[in-house]
């Protein structure tokens, strides 16, 4: 149906030309799913955008031997002919459903617009079609919701609306660009299920672009692996995942957290309680109603949180967005106050009023771009805690800073550089080094790898496991990603809607989840 032969995309800017995609070829037929896998900057999205005229030229330049869609040469079509195909016969859905729908337009109107554009029917018929499309993707009460604005839907529902909009024009090919990356794991499972279902019903061809190999393995029949614009490997999904030929593919596959190969070698069995959280509540008050009839509404975000962290262990804290895990970590680090409850550290109430206390609990954050002061060199950044806590004297300062850099796997020559001169993974290492500089006992890592590419993610996880073992560091590892938690942590806590629904030994929780929510979470992980 779609036959792409040696497609190349170049960008010409003032700073020279760069090649985004080089010599990409593939075919796809009705009912098939083609997965395109790669890390950020691999050119996987650009290749699809370029076929449909969504890459502005200039600065872009697109070349191909042929891009043949049911006998039509896509690259030779003029704008008008291409628009007939784009959105009509080839539809697209995108990564972030929160921003991909026009916030100023009712969703029904947005769907109807697409239908009217590609089908020769009047507005009322189009509305009927649009409502049918909403129903097909599982939106309840579609007649009423037709008039809603995007912000009135949750993330998962918005992605359903996007899918409805894409399918309403009865396309032959659906290009799904990271359609589940911004979604929670349970929602992701539902959306993937929905895509499979509509594919079967309509004999739809799907091009599924993703950085997540597990998801691609779950859905794709054929796979293309890309790196820096170049096709590394291509073939049937089964083959690629079971017998990868190329080193990069192998590296990608190895980077997937594997619960059977735990990152830590030794079993943890210390029963010395370092952190004891008991009966913790947190609620916010907000006012509702017009100002003459105001009432206060109490919103509980944490309910009766009780757990222990044992010395030397890595405790995973798992939950989806809105589960309260970030609020909890903010309370433990003293950035927020709890409404009630107690947190004891080493048998005494946890307080951060002295420097000596403060240094014992340190943090590593999610966004490596935001977590380092852009105006300070790496040396200053690492020297600051060392001097503040009088860990070393001035003469030994540089030596110690260099030591920290080596410890997190960076070269000691680069300490005079500024953060923006490093990549995301390197910055995350620097952030870890800064936390280590305080010689903490407890390290709280809040989604430290979720902003990183999968190969970098694996490296950082290995570093964390290593540090925990070598230094006997206790770690609270917060994540939405169960497989990461499973491979790294000793024990795990599962949170849902502000409550702990399950906690226990990592292996047993994952093998025999007791709570229904945990079960649904685990079932939602794409099976590898």
């Amino acid at each position: 149906m779609l036959d792409v032969e040696s497609l190349s995309v170049k960008f010409h800017t003032r700073n020279g030309s760069s090649t985004a995609v080089e010599d990409l070829s593939f075919t796809i037929d009705a009912g098939e799913t083609l997965g395109i896998v790669g890390e950020s900057g691999s050119g996987k999205s650009v290749s699809c955008y370029s076929m449909l005229g969504l890459v502005p030229c200039p600065p872009g330049e697109i070349q191909a031997k042929s891009v043949d869609f049911n006998g039509k040469k896509l690259l030779q079509l003029n704008n008008k002919e291409l628009r007939k195909i784009r959105g009509g016969r080839i539809s697209m859905i995108f990564q972030d459903p929160m921003t991909s729908l026009n916030p100023f337009m009712r969703i029904g109107e947005q769907i109807r617009e697409a239908i009217c554009l590609h089908q020769d029917i009047d507005k009322n018929q189009a509305k009927v079609r649009a409502i049918a499309a909403l129903e097909e993707v599982g939106i309840k009460n579609p007649e009423a919701r037709f008039r809603d604005f995007p912000h009135e839907f949750s993330g998962g529902m918005r992605q359903r609306v996007m899918i409805a909009m894409a399918l309403a024009t009865e396309p032959e090919i659906l290009i799904a660009d990271e359609p589940t990356t911004a979604l929670d794991v349970t929602i992701q499972a539902q959306i993937l299920e929905l895509l499979k279902q509509v594919q079967q019903q309509r004999n739809l061809a799907i091009i599924f672009i993703s950085h997540d190999l597990a998801v691609v393995k779950d859905v794709a029949d054929k796979v293309i692996v890309m790196e820096k614009g170049v096709v590394i490997e291509t073939g049937p999904a089964q083959e690629i995942f079971s017998q990868p030929k190329h080193d990069y593919t192998k590296k990608l596959l190895q980077a997937i957290p594997d619960p059977d190969k735990a990152l830590k070698s030794n079993e943890h069995n210390n029963s010395d309680v370092l952190l004891d959280v008991a009966a913790l509540y947190k609620s916010y008050q907000r006012t509702e109603g017009p100002f003459w009839r105001k009432r206060k509404v109490e919103q509980e975000v944490l309910k009766n949180i009780c757990f222990n962290v044992y010395r030397g262990e890595i405790l995973g804290l798992v939950g989806e967005s809105g589960s309260g895990k970030s609020t909890l970590s903010n309370i433990i680090t003293g950035l927020l106050d709890a409404s009630s409850g107690s947190i004891n550290y080493n048998g005494r109430e946890l307080r951060f009023d002295t420097l000596a206390q403060r240094k014992k609990v340190q943090l590593v954050f999610q966004d490596p771009y935001a977590s380092l002061n852009p105006r300070m060199t790496i040396f200053d950044c690492l020297a600051e805690p060392l001097l503040l806590h009088k860990i070393v004297e001035k003469p030994q300062l540089q030596e110690k800073v260099e030591g920290l850099m080596v410890e997190v796997g960076l070269s000691k020559e680069v300490i005079w550089r500024y953060p923006h001169e490093f990549s995301g993974g390197q910055r995350q290492r620097i952030a870890i080094a800064r936390a280590l500089a305080c010689e903490p006992e407890l390290l709280i890592a809040d989604e430290p790898v979720s902003a990183l590419d999968v190969t970098i993610q694996a490296q950082i996880l290995r570093l964390l496991a290593e540090l925990s073992e070598r230094k006997g560091l206790t770690m609270l590892f917060i994540s939405h990603d169960l497989s990461v938690v499973h491979s790294l942590c000793d024990r795990v806590i599962v949170m849902d809607k502000g409550q702990i629904v399950e906690q226990g030994d990592c292996d047993s929780v994952f093998k025999q989840p007791q709570h229904r929510y945990t079960q649904s979470l685990i079932n939602a992980i794409p099976k590898f």
């Binding site: 628009r83 195909i85 784009r86 697209m92 972030d96 921003t99 916030p103 617009e113 912000h151 996007m162």
Partner: protein, 310 residues
């Protein structure tokens, strides 16, 4: 929504009151009485004058009686033109000033927004540069330089348009409106360019393109709504600027608007007139800010429903 509007209107009242209070105090503490210039006024006459303008009462009573009159739309008599009340002067001048401001605003909106959108569609192209350089000229050549230059070129050298008056001869409203609106056209061009550039980079514009919408529909149906939000937000401050700009323009073109009366009053130390016009201007500015705020909420579905559910 109604709750929100009521709340905003109620919040505007103390601000207006504050303006009245500050202005009143300023005028009262001004050195020298209002009739100092009339030399050798007999004491009897002075006393009568003071009585007529309530100046014999204690200051707080003066204030409250003034506010009381204000509420009935009575700005009191003018010091300098005893036969005319300030209300009368304002009601003859205000329509002219408001008309002038409106023309200037319409001109600024049409020219500014189209230039901004035009530039944003091809960022960093020659047409972007030329539109934005022109806008920069509009910002950097102030109305009191631009106005005289326009008069010199179109009025005197070319003789195409009348150089003064308002409604006396055909076309005499063109130059004042251009002079007053030019700077705002330039600001709006920059604002709408920035707004459009930001919106055109949004994911939902990509979605609209992926639907197969023609580019002009993408811009008009999906882009303008969000891209022109900064333009609407600017309307409030623009109203304030247009009013003070009208001082200059009305002086240059000898237009009998309220701005000119205000300036005359300022030079003549006609205190009731200053008081009255300041309060009137403040009222207009606060009103425009209010309308702008409500408009911003109304035009944004998310804000609107937040306000609804409040």
């Amino acid at each position: 929504m109604l709750s929100y509007i009521v709340k905003r209107v109620l919040a505007a009242i103390p601000v207006l009151f504050l303006v009245v209070l500050i202005t009143f105090i300023l005028v009262r503490i001004a050195p020298g009485g209002p009739f100092d210039e009339e030399r050798s006024v007999p004491p009897q006459v002075l006393e009568n004058l003071n009585k007529r303008y309530n100046l014999d009462l204690p200051v707080h009573e003066q204030f409250f009686s003034y506010v009381g009159n204000l509420l009935q739309g009575d700005f009191g008599p003018s010091f300098k033109y005893p036969n005319r009340s300030v209300t009368e002067i304002i009601s003859t001048g205000a329509p002219v000033t408001i008309e002038l401001g409106l023309y200037a605003l319409i001109f600024a909106m049409i020219l500014g927004c189209s230039a901004g959108v035009f530039a944003a569609l091809r960022p960093n192209s020659w047409r972007d540069y030329s539109a934005m350089s022109t806008a920069m000229i509009g910002i950097c050549v102030p109305s009191f330089v631009l106005g005289p230059l326009l008069v010199l070129i179109f009025g005197i050298y070319l003789g195409w348009l009348p150089v003064s008056g308002w409604g006396y001869s055909p076309g005499d409203k063109i130059l004042p409106a251009l002079t007053l609106g030019a700077a705002y056209a330039a600001y709006l061009a920059r604002l709408s360019r920035g707004g459009m550039l930001e919106v055109l980079n949004q994911d939902y514009i990509r979605t609209a393109r992926a639907k197969g919408l023609p580019e002009w529909q993408v811009v008009i149906k999906h882009g303008l709504r969000g891209g022109l939000t900064p333009v609407i937000a600017f309307l409030g401050p623009a109203a304030a600027g247009l009013l003070s700009g009208s001082f200059v323009v009305e002086t240059i073109y000898q237009i009998p608007g309220i701005g000119r009366f205000f300036l005359q009053a300022a030079f003549n130390r006609d205190y009731t007139m200053i008081l009255g016009t300041t309060i009137f201007f403040a009222f207009l500015i606060i009103l425009f800010n209010l309308i702008t705020d409500i408009l911003l909420v109304w035009l944004n579905p998310k804000l609107r429903s937040e306000v609804f559910n409040q």
